[in-house]
Symmetry: C2
DNA sequence: CCGAATCCCCGCGGATACTG
DNA sequence: CAGTATCCGCGGGGATTCGG
């Protein structure tokens, strides 16, 4: 985890309605965990059912083996996917979403829906900003 | 935006229930936008009402001026906060959440709540993983 | 087929110094 | 007080090579 903010005193906390330090930490942690380049995409793909390594790779299309391996290891470590090895030749490895992984999709997709619903407003704000700044 | 995945053909899309490419893009975009180190923390702080630059700085405690400026500029550009300059001496600048900014907090906090509710399960999974891997 | 190991680039974010 | 400019380290992530 990268984000580390001060352990504040009860005094400082009382200063101005600031109870939710824990909320911020929780938000930052999950964000720093799934906010990387590939995690969400992999999770959404695995929602369709178990999938092999190279199938995932093909469907994503432009991911390196290294990053797919890393992404899957982290997801496995956190209990979001399971990794099943079939000791055949050539080997076969299936990845599948766990219950926890499927539950994670709910708030993540909610964020996505909000984004789709509001992308226009954001885009307008950007054009206003870029226009008035050096137009 | 960093994430750019393949423009897939309708054929590939039909292959296996894969309609939500747009969802993935939206999710990735918002995640890459607010998934940085400080954005969410600043937004949560501003929820308490308008705040001056150095007050934000103090309350966060360990952020550099550069990153606070950058974070606020990006938030302003996307229409999440307003920047109000009082041409006094010394100068005074207030930052305040817009309606859009306040709406953003809803799905973000939902994600945070999910994280708080499930951090134990994640922690257990991590210990299992780390334990069985080189215990 | 699945991955580990290595090398390398680049952008985020911190430290510091300077302006209006 | 608020902000810009510059320098720099670190880690994410890509390309390539090698192993089981």
């Amino acid at each position: 985890m990268t984000v580390s903010h001060h352990d504040e005193t009860g005094q400082a906390a009382a200063d101005r309605g600031w109870q939710h330090a824990g909320d911020c930490r929780a938000i930052s942690e999950v964000l720093s965990r799934i906010g990387d380049k590939w995690t969400v995409l992999v999770v959404e793909l695995l929602d369709g059912g178990p999938m092999r390594f190279n199938e995932l790779r093909r469907r994503i299309g432009n991911i390196s083996q290294k990053m797919l391996t890393t992404t899957l290891r982290n997801l496995e470590r956190d209990g979001f996917v399971t990794r099943t090895v079939f000791p055949t030749i050539p080997p076969r490895v299936d990845y599948e979403l766990t219950g926890l992984g499927r539950e994670l999709r709910v708030p993540v997709k909610a964020l996505g829906h909000w984004a789709r619903a509001n992308i226009d407003r954001i885009q307008e704000a950007r054009e206003r900003f870029d226009g008035t700044r050096q137009g």
